[in-house]
Symmetry: D2
Subunit: 359 residues, 4 copies
Amino acid sequence: MASTFGQLFRITTWGESHGGGVGVVVDGCPPRLKLTEADIQPDLDRRRPGQSKIVSPRQESDTVQILSGTFGGKTLGTPICLWVKNEDARPEAYAEMKTKFRPSHADFTYFAKYGIRNWQGGGRASARETVGRVAAGAIAKKILRECHGVEILAYVKQVQMLVADVNPARVKLKDIESNIVRCPDKTAAEKMIRLIEKMRRAGDTVGGIVEGIARGVPAGWGEPVFDKLEADLAKAMLSLPASKAFEIGSGFSGITLTGREHNDPFRARGGKVFTTTNFSGGIQGGISNGQTIFFRVAFKPVATVMHEQDTVDVQFRNTTLKGRGRHDPCVLPRAVPMVEAMTALVLVDHALRHKAQCG
Amino acid sequence: MASTFGQLFRITTWGESHGGGVGVVVDGCPPRLKLTEADIQPDLDRRRPGQSKIVSPRQESDTVQILSGTFGGKTLGTPICLWVKNEDARPEAYAEMKTKFRPSHADFTYFAKYGIRNWQGGGRASARETVGRVAAGAIAKKILRECHGVEILAYVKQVQMLVADVNPARVKLKDIESNIVRCPDKTAAEKMIRLIEKMRRAGDTVGGIVEGIARGVPAGWGEPVFDKLEADLAKAMLSLPASKAFEIGSGFSGITLTGREHNDPFRARGGKVFTTTNFSGGIQGGISNGQTIFFRVAFKPVATVMHEQDTVDVQFRNTTLKGRGRHDPCVLPRAVPMVEAMTALVLVDHALRHKAQCG
Amino acid sequence: MASTFGQLFRITTWGESHGGGVGVVVDGCPPRLKLTEADIQPDLDRRRPGQSKIVSPRQESDTVQILSGTFGGKTLGTPICLWVKNEDARPEAYAEMKTKFRPSHADFTYFAKYGIRNWQGGGRASARETVGRVAAGAIAKKILRECHGVEILAYVKQVQMLVADVNPARVKLKDIESNIVRCPDKTAAEKMIRLIEKMRRAGDTVGGIVEGIARGVPAGWGEPVFDKLEADLAKAMLSLPASKAFEIGSGFSGITLTGREHNDPFRARGGKVFTTTNFSGGIQGGISNGQTIFFRVAFKPVATVMHEQDTVDVQFRNTTLKGRGRHDPCVLPRAVPMVEAMTALVLVDHALRHKAQCG
Amino acid sequence: MASTFGQLFRITTWGESHGGGVGVVVDGCPPRLKLTEADIQPDLDRRRPGQSKIVSPRQESDTVQILSGTFGGKTLGTPICLWVKNEDARPEAYAEMKTKFRPSHADFTYFAKYGIRNWQGGGRASARETVGRVAAGAIAKKILRECHGVEILAYVKQVQMLVADVNPARVKLKDIESNIVRCPDKTAAEKMIRLIEKMRRAGDTVGGIVEGIARGVPAGWGEPVFDKLEADLAKAMLSLPASKAFEIGSGFSGITLTGREHNDPFRARGGKVFTTTNFSGGIQGGISNGQTIFFRVAFKPVATVMHEQDTVDVQFRNTTLKGRGRHDPCVLPRAVPMVEAMTALVLVDHALRHKAQCG
């Protein structure tokens, strides 16, 4: 069940970074939605390695095939299986990993859990697993956009100490996609790119923050108690490789305010209720209140560095290991479509749940 | 399903802040565990209002009854229903809430979702719902302690800008319980108590950070991909009332480091593997690595303040509302047992899942 | 999870035959439904022992209390906890069961599984557990009736070799309730009652068949593949105590026909499609086709007989055991509301699932 | 969720009878199990059409590929995706189905539910969907055999009125596989084959009964209340295409006995408990008692017949339809591996659940 996400719009991803490929089964997609590979490929292109000089140079076209669930270009309401073949498998590049655990990767913990691991790459812990999520997320985004008028966006908000200035209420996809780091603040973007390039040259890596937003969500989506909208978003984000933190609305900085300052006053105009501030981040008591939903996700610096580091081997003896070959200096530009995908998956699931109980 | 948490150790909470009471059904508890009300009541006492001058003065004894699932003082392996009666129901105190939505509470969103709400208190959004979680968590903590040697603790790490100095590897329950704010750093604790009292007198409220830890978790618990241990912890914490943020290990501050600095080197000694730093927070790739698990949760200042604030009424007209009667200046001391409970529920569930697949 | 049933209209039952009581938590009930104890009590009265001379004489009023989930007589959309206290607990009557396993009861298998059992009655295997099902089923039936125009009925179709003549398309509740065996064929009912009384006097028991029907189900409810409507009905029925078999539509007797004979021809009239025969039992490919759904469930003779029988004790030594005290000669009259309840629970769950995906 | 089965050993099937292929994702398989395509292919060969003169002549090699979840010939504990390409797609054979609903097929109900259907074959309602089940079942059977010493078998017990004489305690796979109808009673098998051939020549079809057995299941598998072993088996069997009925142990015929006659006396010998009769079918109160589990499943005659039959078209006008081309006179020989697969999937899931809670 670890590889399944969602209650009513349910995805199951499968596949290792090296092997027959990676994919996803999407169960619960509404019928009669127009859907072809062309709806999915653009987000995979935003996710794939090799797309620019500041991301992993692994060469993969990541071409998606729809194996089931559509007929005549429309969804049938039955499971949609999407498949992307692995192309750039280079098992020889991983020979040293056969006997050594990479620090701050999942090599050791997978071995501790399963007593076996696919040492040719990161197995299920590889960012390659997110191919299935992004593919499924493209379908979810389409449903949200066409059936509910909901727009999902994400962008790089911070790289190390470089913070972008972005207005969540106004930012547009084309501004995000206007540069290779996917930061809509052009001045900050230039600095970020320079920093990442410097890290790449130094054989080192850098982390940062992706901000995700959902605009147009009506009041009433989400559930009380355990499946609160922010709880499901938190789980979705912390399930992404390399993520370490999540905050919604005012987040950690909200604790600097008192209750009087932090409360979002309600106002009404023309029969519509809104809040004059949005410290809540668009969600109150687990349920959307009609304001823009926004949150931030921290991604640690990528663990593979081109320097020798202390580690242990599979026989639990001390040794060292140095990263070789392909090196991804910063996961953030590729994390943007991942954050969008997970946001869309959470929201479309809650849209269906809301329809079931209260529709 | 919104009121159910867990896959194998599954709890379902029920009850509103005003009504016949609150409770929980625990399904999946192993058989033959010694269990009486005395195992559960202490944590409920730590959670209940009225326990000190710095928390809500609502008067409730919160006495728990086991309605099913045990026989002769031992668990049967069947569902355990726990029930706590509501005592201090004062519907008249909520008369104004019948027609007005409290700012930054869930009154409006529940109404938007369901078209009906229990306006005598916060309904399911009330902190009172956490009675069931804490009661179930006490069972989970007992299983972890007795069957796995795992210790779960939480404490107040920060109130507004007052930060405590605590060593997660060494902190003890008695230090945490040595003062009413539940902060093991005595100097900080005194300042925190003064600040909270000041807020209470001012009719205002204050937020902060609770840190949670799990010591003694063996390497191998957790799941890859979606049900990562940190993802389930994030969901658990963001499902608590008033929580706004979660970070594990280095969290948001990890982005100030480069990959070389942030990686946790593995070392081996006596056939055991450990890391010399713990930026990972005890989890790598979603699976425990044997180090101490630690994380922080931000709680916003409580929304009920004793001041007039802008809001709207149920007919969507502008109005104002002023909190009356009981006033909880800071949720943090009572959030401590809630964080412990949710941590224990996540871990015991993963312990069972690990046993099923890899045991 | 063994005590939870349903995906979107989800019930969790709890409680042993002896202990604090039995109950159920209903999660997923739509909001704003009028609901008081008076909607639930009548079905509990049909289920309770002591209602007539041909059922178990255990004395229980089975008075239901709603502990949560309603406000002002309407559902809130939040979990509804229903509780029925145990009254007629007579642990002394079970003293011999402490050391011996009753043949064809669950005493031995519970002990084999859990290493512990509540020997004061049948624990969770007791028919008393069905109190929670019948209570939840009363809510489900109300939703089906008021929101969907669907009528659920069940009746005794056969006792041992005595077969009733009933038309599933026309049978009415008042005919079913016109006699204590709940068989709408009066002539057969009289014979059945005489047979059951004879069995009671002989200290023996007898089984039979309950037929369940659902009228007014629109075409399109149900799911393909695993959660077929008939599959969920089969599981629901085989989860009832003492049930041994399930057949839908033509069932086992359908194999006497060839395909040409067995197919249900479609016809259309006034823009509506119907079938001229109904061997399918109202379901095709797991999805309702708009015809009456009907099925049969076999219940074995009750295992407790007033005669000495071979068995083993808890130390696995051969011994004998003779039933004492209360003796239920036939479960069928009380199984009727159980079958109705489980049918309603399956259908309301699929109604919500259909609304979510295709509504 | 309709396409997912199991709690801990969880399969998700995907694919239509016409399209890119059919497959399954198996999540929850224990790690380090030896597994290659050679473990799976034999059961697919038993399931595939064209294997003999008495089954569907559709030409498919049904060659399985493992796309993920293994490494070096062993399972990784991660999702195993299995894929079988569609080869014999002949959309032109289905042209008439574009505008007409086949009687007693799922064409009409799928259309009523989804408003769209893949008319080139039966879509998800096709027996072709069971490729994924049989492939996953082969893995489940291997786990049961190698880790638990449990043997799963099924065979044709009855074709129309021809009943085989088989001893569930002794029957062997090689006897079942000794003839094309998969009936271990050779005399009955010959008559069955002649009857099916006669039906094929007549353009008609015939149904019957498959008996399934599980030998070597230890006492204690299964769950009380809803997820009873027999309830999960019933659901599993009623989810198979064309199945109409399920009975376990004495089943429907058990109602001819009284309680005294029907009870299974316990006896002990050498510290082991057994029953001297097995009307319970190896399960009591939802939990295995250590005796052989056996049950029967009725399959209706296949709906496609080579004769003109009344039906309606997609505009709900009366018309007729005559089956053309490939004609499957009897589903029973191919249903045998399907029944085995579903039995194994239920049992391996309960084995894992038992280990989690009581292991």
